[in-house]
């Protein structure tokens, strides 16, 4: 008896929800029906293409797919969907580029340690945070040693790096290097010293006014011209310089927003207590400003992570560049949608994760303040 009434109550609840959100008026009902038809058409098409009619490792005849001629859709055109075998076949390239196969464990180890390095920075209420932060500072050296090689490990030139490795390397290193630079730029832009201020303003506005691709070109073509003979940074390093400068200008603007939100009274109170400029900045202003600026900073990081795909234009093989290289190979050519959908999905997972993290922070900061 009681279970029945609860049941009818929940039914009533769902019923009310459906009426309120889908059929509140006749025009709303028409919209709902249009949306349902649209969803059915697009959804069934996509699901059929990506799953039900797709090849994974074996085609419809049960053969292992070795090249594109084995794909079901190439054997019987028009009857089958995606052929994901290209992703399997090229998995190592998508992840590591042309990194020597026997050394791939080094990249895997670096990838595996990455979450531990980020853990302490991303979350503040975790046990042993201090040690996580120590590890964060240690991580770049470990990563350099593991990826590039050194005593005991054979060196692997950056021209062999590629795929997700390059995308993550450029994204994370660019952000990490740009962060201190951007703090200096943001402080410089709010400085009372007119010359320092104008240098910072010109730098920030110049970088923000030109497309990243022109900076990449400049770094690629002109960096060797600017440097003394014999100093010849490799292509990845050139791209890293451009990406870092680019990111520092955008991050500086995000941090400036945080700096502007600090009431003047805080600075005056610190000065009245006799703190110097750097003491005031380090102990009073920056901790508050950075906290406010975290969501916009994360947004610039998402932007940068997506923009790392531009390095394919200067001939580096990032995730997208490797995808294009795979398509240029005659054995797998013409499987455009499979490759691009897969790469989109990888980017989506990273960027969506970052945007969720930014939302989580926003929520947390809101409760902290109230």
């Amino acid at each position: 008896m009681s279970s029945l009434s609860i049941n009818s109550f929940t039914h009533k609840k769902y019923y009310n929800w459906v009426i309120r959100n889908l059929f509140s008026s006749w025009i709303n009902s028409i919209f709902t029906i249009i949306a349902l038809i649209f969803l059915y058409k697009v959804g069934s098409f996509f699901l059929n293409w990506a799953f039900f009619e797709a090849d994974f490792r074996y085609n419809f005849q049960g053969d292992l797919i070795l090249d594109r001629t084995f794909c079901s859709k190439n054997i019987k055109p028009g009857e089958f969907g995606a052929c994901w075998a290209i992703i399997y076949a090229r998995w190592d390239q998508f992840m590591y580029g042309f990194y020597p196969v026997e050394e791939v464990w080094r990249v895997n180890l670096t990838f595996a340690l990455l979450p531990f390095a980020l853990f302490g920075v991303l979350f503040d209420k975790i046990p042993f945070r201090k040690y996580f932060i120590y590890f964060t500072f240690l991580y770049p050296f470990i990563a350099y040693f593991m990826l590039y090689g050194g005593p005991g490990l054979s060196p692997v030139g950056t021209n062999k790096w590629g795929g997700l490795l390059v995308t993550l390397f450029l994204g994370i290193t660019g952000i990490a290097l740009a962060f201190p630079l951007s703090i200096l730029l943001a402080l410089g832009r709010r400085s009372k010293l007119p010359i320092i201020k104008s240098i910072c303003v010109v730098f920030i506005e110049f970088i923000r006014g030109v497309p990243l691709i022109t900076l990449l070109f400049t770094a690629n073509v002109m960096l060797p011209l600017f440097l003394p003979q014999g100093v010849n940074p490799d292509n990845l390093l050139r791209a890293l310089v451009a990406v870092t400068l680019f990111q520092s200008a955008y991050m500086a603007e995000a941090i400036r927003g945080g700096l502007q939100a600090i009431p003047k009274g805080h600075i005056e109170a610190a000065e009245a207590l006799g703190l110097t400029y750097w003491q005031t900045t380090r102990k009073i202003i920056l901790p508050q400003a950075l906290k406010i600026a975290i969501p916009p900073i994360v947004n610039t990081c998402i932007g940068l992570f997506k923009d790392t795909s531009l390095v394919l234009i200067i001939g580096l093989f990032d995730l997208l560049g490797i995808g294009r290289a795979a398509l240029a190979d005659m054995t797998w050519t013409k499987l455009y949608y499979e490759v691009y959908v897969f790469i989109s999905l990888v980017f989506f997972i990273f960027c969506f994760g970052m945007s969720r993290y930014s939302l989580y922070l926003e929520k947390k900061l809101k409760t902290d303040n109230s």
Binding site: I195, V210, F217, K306, L310, Y336, I343
Partner: protein, 389 residues
Amino acid sequence: MQTNFIRKIFFDEKSRSLLIQALVIGIFAVFIYLLVQQTAANLERRGISSGFDFLSMGAGYDISIRLIPFTSEDTHLRAYFVGLLNTLMIAICGCFLATILGFFVGVIRLSSNWLFRNIAYVYVEFTRNVPVLLQIILYYSILLHLPKIKQAIVLFEGFYLTNRGLYSPLPIFKEGFSIIVVSFVLAIIASFIIKKYLKKKQEHTGKQYPIFLINSALVIFTPIFMYYLMGMPLEFELPVLKGFNFKGGMVIRPEFIGMLLGLSIYTAAFISETVRSGIISVSKGQREASQALGLKSNLIMKLIIIPQALRVIIPPLTSQYLNLTKNSSLGIAIGYADLVHGFGGISLNQTGRAIEIMLMVMLTYLTISLIISFFMNIYNKAVQFKGNA
């Protein structure tokens, strides 16, 4: 005495700031000097000459997408202008399309229909979390895999979609068409004057006039009337399939369509978010108060919600326009002949004048950015809150 003087330099705020700045200038000057010297030495060693004389030399390459005539005998300077016009064309078309799509999606995101709202949400999340370059390449490859010319998809009479682009009728302007254009512009100007006059009258008398109706009738019917008056001076040349290709008409290349789709679909996702947050930012009390005053719902939207939402929307919208313009430089990935692809790519490779060309390209983008910011700032001032609050 002397120690006192040194103490004073370090501990007096004014002299210390002068000292720091002099130091910064000094370091900066040395840095620039070293850079210039190094570059000059490097250029000399590689035997690269410098200067802008290459601009008057023949370009020696062809540009397929162009708004002004260009052949391989024309100069690099002309190649620069062809590229600049292509950049501006894609930027303007892209901003236009992205704004329409963005406002549309932004309004749907606030719809009371749960399904509509969430379809728009999925669209926004999927497009803004995938690199714009990847989207451009994806749409471009879809366009390249459309049917061949023989099996062209017929959209409407005279519009054919093929793997070589969209073939569409070419408008041919005959004598007297300029008068129609002039009349159209005059009608727009007149509509502004009428609007101002009727608004003033309304303030005096309190009577409302159907300004929008009057003006749209004026703007629409004046050119139509003139069109017939001038003896229909506009004709269309339809593309006709002859042999292996279409003859006549005009073709919109897949590079352009791919860029346009990529840029506007990507940017529209961001614009829709700014539109949504702008509309949400108008407090609920404003709507309730205007309902209490007896305003109709379309008037509430027009007089209360939109003017206040625009204040929040315009600044981020400006930066989206700037982003779109800068992203238009990605045309190089699919061969859209914009500034970076033609002038910054091919001309650079041919002449080797990397510094001059990159400087010109960067300064051009800076100028475009500044112009967009300038006009959007004027517009922003116009919509911002006026009063003493």
